[in-house]
Symmetry: C2
Subunit: 332 residues, 2 copies
């Protein structure tokens, strides 16, 4: 099968919103008046972002999910995406499963595949995603990293650290009971981009980012861009690890035998969470709760923005903890 047959068979779909989809030199989108286009691009490399033998269906899902998560962090409504794919060989069952996982998530979010590229080479998936953000009274409604204000509450959606727990297990570093591994593995392999929450937070949140490299590392980008500091309650964050009840045999079934330090590390620097980390004034607590309910996404308050620069980490007694949680960096 040649390159063009491959595209036609697995990736070409009729478009409904785009003016022109796969099959010409360019795709064409017609943005609606009074909107801005939000754009993000993520590249996933075999052996680095995923195991070479990962289920291609989940890989298709995750490749788009990590991009949709960036749109979510911006408060954008997904519109379309391009897919550039470097493949070591044409493996039709693999391609069929990859396309199925990819296009199922795309369909869920009304995000159309409009173009891209296919080449031979080491397995590499590069998706660029496009979303729409309204402009109201001349002001963009996009959520940025730069709007956090001293006194703002800090929230995170969903759970933290379970994806890392799965990764550590797959790397042979931890032993998880099968049912727990299954749920953690879902978090690692098929993360849920918080697209509805991101849109519900427009006009409510002052700043937002998605948690991909680890909670504290990504919070650092908000702090740097907003010129502020923060205080984070480490033990509130710990409880967001869905596997935490397995601590010290609390479930009565299995004791993961992780130290408090290890749980903190999972929650604060796990990475691959694809949750939204955002800030909002205390006056907006009801609105934040409403955004969480409307989008059926749990949100938890985990700290506060401070005028003083730097990150203060405290335990449940308000005692300061050392912060040695490194964010993931491909070249560090």
């Amino acid at each position: 099968m040649g390159e063009f047959d491959l595209i036609a068979r697995y990736f070409k779909r009729p478009v409904r919103q785009a003016v022109l989809g796969v099959g010409d030199d360019c795709a064409l989108l017609q943005p609606r008046p009074g909107t801005q286009m939000a754009i993000s691009s993520d590249m996933l490399v075999s052996g680095r972002h995923f195991f070479a033998d990962v289920d291609p269906r989940t890989l298709g899902h995750k490749s788009l999910a990590v991009n949709l998560s960036d749109l979510a962090a911006c408060g954008a409504r997904p519109l379309a995406f391009t897919l550039a794919l470097s493949l070591p060989e044409v493996n039709e069952p693999w391609l069929a499963a990859f396309a199925e996982g990819l296009l199922a998530l795309a369909e869920t979010h009304g995000c159309e595949l409009v173009g891209g590229d296919t080449t031979a080479g080491p397995l590499n998936i590069c998706i660029t995603v496009f979303g729409e953000v309204p402009v109201v009274n001349g002001r963009s409604q996009a959520l940025l990293r730069s709007g956090a204000q001293p006194g703002d509450d800090i929230y995170v959606s969903g759970n933290l650290g379970d994806a890392r727990l799965a990764l550590n297990t797959l790397l042979g570093q931890i032993d998880l009971p099968p049912e727990l591994l299954a749920s953690c593995r879902q978090r690692l392999e098929t993360p849920t981009p918080r697209v509805a929450l991101g849109q519900a937070l427009r006009g409510v949140a002052t700043a937002a980012i998605d948690v991909s490299d680890g909670l504290l590392g990504d919070l650092g980008h908000i702090l740097e861009n907003s010129g502020v500091g923060a205080c984070i309650e480490a033990d509130t964050a710990i409880k967001l690890v869905a596997a935490y009840p397995y601590n010290k045999g609390a479930t009565g079934q299995f004791d993961l035998k992780l130290s408090t330090e290890q749980w903190r590390s999972l929650a604060l620097a796990g990475g691959d969470d694809y949750e939204l980390l955002f800030t909002a004034p205390a006056s907006q607590r009801a609105a934040v709760a409403q955004a969480g309910q409307a989008s059926q996404t749990p949100v938890t308050r985990i700290g506060q923005i401070r005028a003083e620069p730097g990150l203060l980490l405290v335990d449940s007694q308000g005692q300061t903890l050392p912060n040695h949680y490194a964010s993931f960096d491909h070249f560090a």
Copy 2:
């Protein structure tokens, strides 16, 4: 140097047209009213699209040039691009040169780097480019592959085959005198995207594509998408190979000793030309000439669209030639 320092040092530039550039979860573009956004994505893989030891400055140029060439084929005005880069290591001199070549071409075309991704992995460059196409009286002015009509003239810009001649030389298959290799190598390594010509052809050309995989192969896409056939004058195309005067020692200096068949193959199936191949009604010959002059780009008429499907290849006497010129296919 970490991932974020790398981006800041080599790739972060202030944006002038975009609402928001590098440094947040998403970039933001504000399309002008009455325009569509043209989008194209190309992935370049080391050892396949370029030699691993290629000059990084030319690689930066070419990575963007092949994408701008897609915008040109669509008649779009370049606006912005994202860059996703997988690097085996952080090599600062390499990155500095790559960024210099990339951003110099970007500057020439007013095309801003607005975002992207950086990761460790086998060298891979994925650029997604955004351009603007006007909509006039409700009709998109984009040039598509699908508009060719029987009787239309077929044109190609610039030169053909010289990039392939350089490639064949670098692969040790041909021997070129140094000054000829230098000029052919420029065509291979720093192609000129025909951006101004593409825009000048809006409202004039009926269909267009850029020649990346070889003239006849890319013409095939126009024929298929337009539901037409074509007749191409092979010996007119041959003369578009800038090195052709070196045939049979015509320059008095050097005889490349290529057969007519080899010259035809260079012109018709060379690939990596990044010229525009387009069609226009015979009534538009003056307008096509004017578009070429206005954009300072040579254009040559090389054939005609026919109602009968299929591609007819003829020599200078009008005799039919066999067509066995395969287009480049990564998986064929």
